[in-house]
C-alpha cells in the first residue's frame, strides 16, 4: 500500500545519516531562527528602553537554577536512554526515557509555580508621591490582601536584604483614587515581563512538545522496537537532538532573563 522510501532507516551513502536525522537538523535550524528573532527583539527592546529591571530583582533565581539543573539532567538521561537502547537494553532504555519524561514534567511544575507567583505579585503606581513606611515613593510592589471598589489592602514587599524583619511590614490601605495604575507581574506589566512570558512561554510549549513525543515513544511508539529496532533507536536519537535543543534554549534564557 505504501511506497518504499529510501534512507528511512539506513543512512544515505553520501550524507551518512537517515532521512529523519537530516530533517530534525533542518527543523532545528528553523528553530534557531525562531528563537534568534525573539532574542534579537529582546536585545533591541532592552537597548532602546529608558529603564529595564534586573532579572534577579523580580524573578526567582533559585527556582530557575533548579530548573536549569533539572533540564540538564534530563538531557543526560535522554542520552543514557539512547545509549542503553544502542546496547540492546530495551527495559533500561525505557527507564531512562521515563526519567527524562518525569524531569520534563518537573520543569513545567516549577515553571507553573514561578508563573503563579508573578500573577499574584502587584505593583501600584500613585497619582502623587505618597509616604509609605517613612519614605516618599511614586510606586510600590507587594501583594494585595483585600480589594474593594474604594480601596485595596496592600502588603508591600520588604526592602531588599531585610527579609527577616517580618513585623516591620504591615499591610497598608490605599484608596482607589490614589492609584494611577495597578498591575500584577503579568505580560502586560512592562516590556520586561512581555519578553519574559513570551520567551519562556514559547520555550514551555517546546517542553510540552517534547513531553508528547517522548510520551509517545515510551507508550504506543515503543512497539516499533520489536518491529524495527534501528528505526526506533533513530527516533530516540532524533528526539534527543530536539530535546538537547530545548535544553540549550533554556541555557540561553536563564542568564538573559534571570541574571543580567
Amino acid at each position: 500500500m505504501d511506497v518504499a522510501i529510501p534512507c528511512q532507516v539506513k543512512p544515505h551513502p553520501v550524507t551518512g545519516i537517515a532521512n529523519g536525522k537530516l530533517a530534525i537538523w533542518l527543523f532545528l535550524a528553523s528553530e534557531v531562527m525562531l528563537f534568534g528573532a525573539l532574542f534579537s527583539s529582546y536585545i533591541l527592546l532592552r537597548t532602546n528602553a529608558e529603564t529595564w529591571p534586573r532579572g534577579h530583582d523580580i524573578l526567582s533565581v533559585p527556582l530557575a537554577t533548579l530548573n536549569t539543573a533539572v533540564l540538564i539532567t534530563s538531557s543526560v538521561t535522554m542520552v543514557m536512554a539512547w545509549a542503553q537502547l544502542m546496547m540492546g537494553n530495551f527495559s533500561k532504555g525505557r527507564k531512562y526515557l521515563a526519567v527524562t519524561l518525569s524531569l520534563a514534567c518537573v520543569f513545567l511544575v516549577v515553571k507553573f509555580f514561578e508563573y503563579k507567583d508573578k500573577f499574584h505579585h502587584y505593583q501600584v503606581w500613585f497619582n502623587t508621591p505618597t509616604m509609605v513606611a517613612g519614605h516618599e515613593v511614586t510606586t510600590i510592589t507587594g501583594h494585595i490582601e483585600e480589594k474593594t471598589d474604594d480601596f485595596i489592602k496592600f502588603l508591600p514587599d520588604p526592602p531588599k536584604g531585610h527579609k527577616a524583619e517580618a513585623g516591620h511590614h504591615e499591610p497598608i490601605k490605599i484608596e482607589t483614587s490614589q492609584i494611577k495604575r495597578l498591575s500584577n507581574y503579568g505580560p502586560w506589566h512592562s516590556n520586561f515581563f512581555a519578553v519574559y512570558f513570551t520567551m519562556t512561554g514559547l520555550h514551555g510549549l517546546h517542553v510540552i512538545g517534547g513531553i508528547i513525543v517522548i510520551g509517545y515513544l515510551l507508550g504506543p511508539g515503543a512497539k516499533l522496537w520489536h518491529r524495527d529496532r534501528q528505526f526506533y533507536i533513530n527516533r530516540i536519537e532524533n528526539t534527543g537532538l530536539y530535546w538537547h535543543f530545548v535544553d540549550l534554549v533554556w541555557i540561553f534564557l536563564f542568564p538573559c532573563l534571570y541574571l543580567i
Binding site: 522510501i5 503579568g186 506589566h189
Partner: protein, 595 residues
Amino acid sequence: MSAGHSHDHGHAHDDHAHGHHELGFIRKWIFSTDHKVIGMQYTVTALVFLFFGFTLMMIMRWQLANPGHVIPFVGSMLSKQLYAGYMNLATEGVLLPEGYNALGAMHGTIMVFLGIVPLAVGGFGNFVMPLQIGAPDMAFPKLNMMSYWVFLPGGLIMLASFFMPGGAAQSGWTSYAPLSVINPGQTAWLVGMIFLITSSLLGSINFIVTIIHMRAPGLTMFRLPFFVWAQFVTAFLLLLAFPPLEAAGVMQLMDRLAGTSFFMPSGLWVSGKAAEWVGGGSPLLWQHLFWFLAHPEVYVLILPAMGIVAEVIANNTRKPLWGYRSMVYAAAFLGFMSFIVWAHHMFMTGMSTKISTFFQTTTMIISIPSVIILTALVISLWGGSIRFNTPMLFAIAFLPMFAIGGLTGLPLGLTSSDIHLHDTYYVIGHFHYVVAPGTIFGMFAGIYYWYPKATGRMMNETLGKLHFWPTFICMNCIFFPMLIQGMMGLSRRTYDPNIYQAGLASLKLHKMISWSAWIMAIAQLPFIFNFFVSMFAGKKVTENPWDSTTLEWAAPSPPPHGNFLTEPKAHRDPYVYSPPGRKDDFLPQHVVLEV
C-alpha cells in the same frame, strides 16, 4: 511514517512498490500521502484562492475608477448586515473606507500566502520535483499530507475572518504596527498566518531531505533540472525566513491579546484617547521582522517561476539551457543575498545613512544574480528552433515582464529616488510586474506544460492562445499605467484618490486599469474551461508528449502511486536536446545508449 514497513500486512502484498492494492476514495484523493495528489490538491486550492483574491481586487478597482458609486452586481450583497456587530464592506452599495482597507489587506495576503506560494511550492514543487529527481515519493509522505491539511485551515481562517466580528484584517498585507495592533480583525489574520507558516515549515524540510537523499542513481546535483535547484533554494528560504515572522506574529498576538507592548510605542493616542498599552515597544521592530521574511519571500515567489520557465524554454527551443551552472550558482547566491537586503523596504523610517548605504549596496548586488538568470534564459532562445505552444508563449512572455519588474525595482533600492517613489503606485506597479505577469505567467506555463503529465491529456492549444494573448495585453494595460501614476505622486492604499490633485490627474488611468482588469477576468474563462474540460475531453497522450529529456517524462502519464515502473537512472545532463549524430532531437536522461 511506517511507510516501507508494511511487510507484516500479509503475504498477498507484493513488495514491488507499484503492485499496491486500491485505496478508498478518501485515502486516495482527500487524505492522500501521494505527492502527486497533494500537489494537485495544492494546485486546485491555490488557483481558487488566486481567483478569489483577484475578485477582491476587482471590487477595489471599481472604487478607484468610480469613487463613491454603487458597486454593480455585488454592491447590495456587500451592504447586508449579517448580524449585530458585523463589519459590512459597503453601505447602500458603496464601498466603505474600512471595507476598502480590508479588501486591500486580504488581496495581498491571499495572493502571496494562499495563492502563489502554495501554487509554486506546494503545487508544482510537490508534483514535479520528486518526479524530476526520479523518486517514488517525498521523504515524509505523511508530513507532506499534514502540510496541506495545516495550510487549508489557515486559508479558511483567513477567509472566515470576513464574517467574524470586527471583519477581516485592515492593515495591509504588511500588517504594520501599531495600526495592526489597534485594528479589529487582525487576530484571525495572525492565527491563520501561524498555520500557514507551520505548513510551509513542514513542506520545506520535506523538500530539502527529498532532494538531498532521494535522487535517482546517477542524478548528481549538477544533473538536476534547474526547476529542482529553484525549489531547493526556495525551500531553504522558507525554512529560515519564515520563523522570524512566526516570532513576530506571536508577539503581535501577545500585543493584541495579552496587552504587551512589543510594537506599541510610549505615549500613543488612539481616537483622541491615550492608548491602554504601557508602551516602550518599537513599531520598527515589526517592520524589521516582517521584511526579514518578506524579502526572501519575494524570491520564494520568483524562483520557482524561473525554474518552470527554464524547463519550458529548454524543451521548446530544443537546445540545452545556456549557462546552466551559472544559473545554479546565481540562484544559490540569490537565496543567500535575499537575507541581507530587507531594510530597503524601510528607507523612509529614518534609519541612519550608514545603514541605508549598506542595504542599498546589497540591493544592487542582489540584482546581479537575477540578471544572470534572465540573461541565460534569453540567450537560450538564440538559435533555437522555437515551438510556439501555449506553455512557451507564457514562458517567453515571462522574460520581458520579469525584466520590467526587476528593472523598475532598482530606483526603489536607491535611497535618493526611493524618497519620491516610496509608497506610491509605482511600488505597486513594480512588484506586480514581478509577481503577476512574472510569476503567474510562469505558473500558467507550468500548468499547460505539466497538465498532460498530471492527467494524461493535453489542454487545448486554441483555448490556451485565447487565454494567453488577452491576458498578456491586459496585464500590461493594468500595471504599466501604475508606474506612471506613481511617478505622478499617487500614494498607494488611498480609498478615494480624487481628494488629491495628483489623484484627480490620474483618474483616467484608473479607469483604463480597471477596465483592463475586468477584461482580464473574462480572459481567464477560456483557461478555467480548458482546465476542467480537458480532464475528460483533452487529447490522450503517452508518457512524453513534449519530447522532453528530464526524468518526470519517463513515468507514465498520469504516474501511478510510486511513480516509475522501473527504477530510473540518470545517465547524462538534464537538457540534452538536438545532440549531434542522432535521429531524435532529444536524448532523455534515463535512456541508455547502446554502444
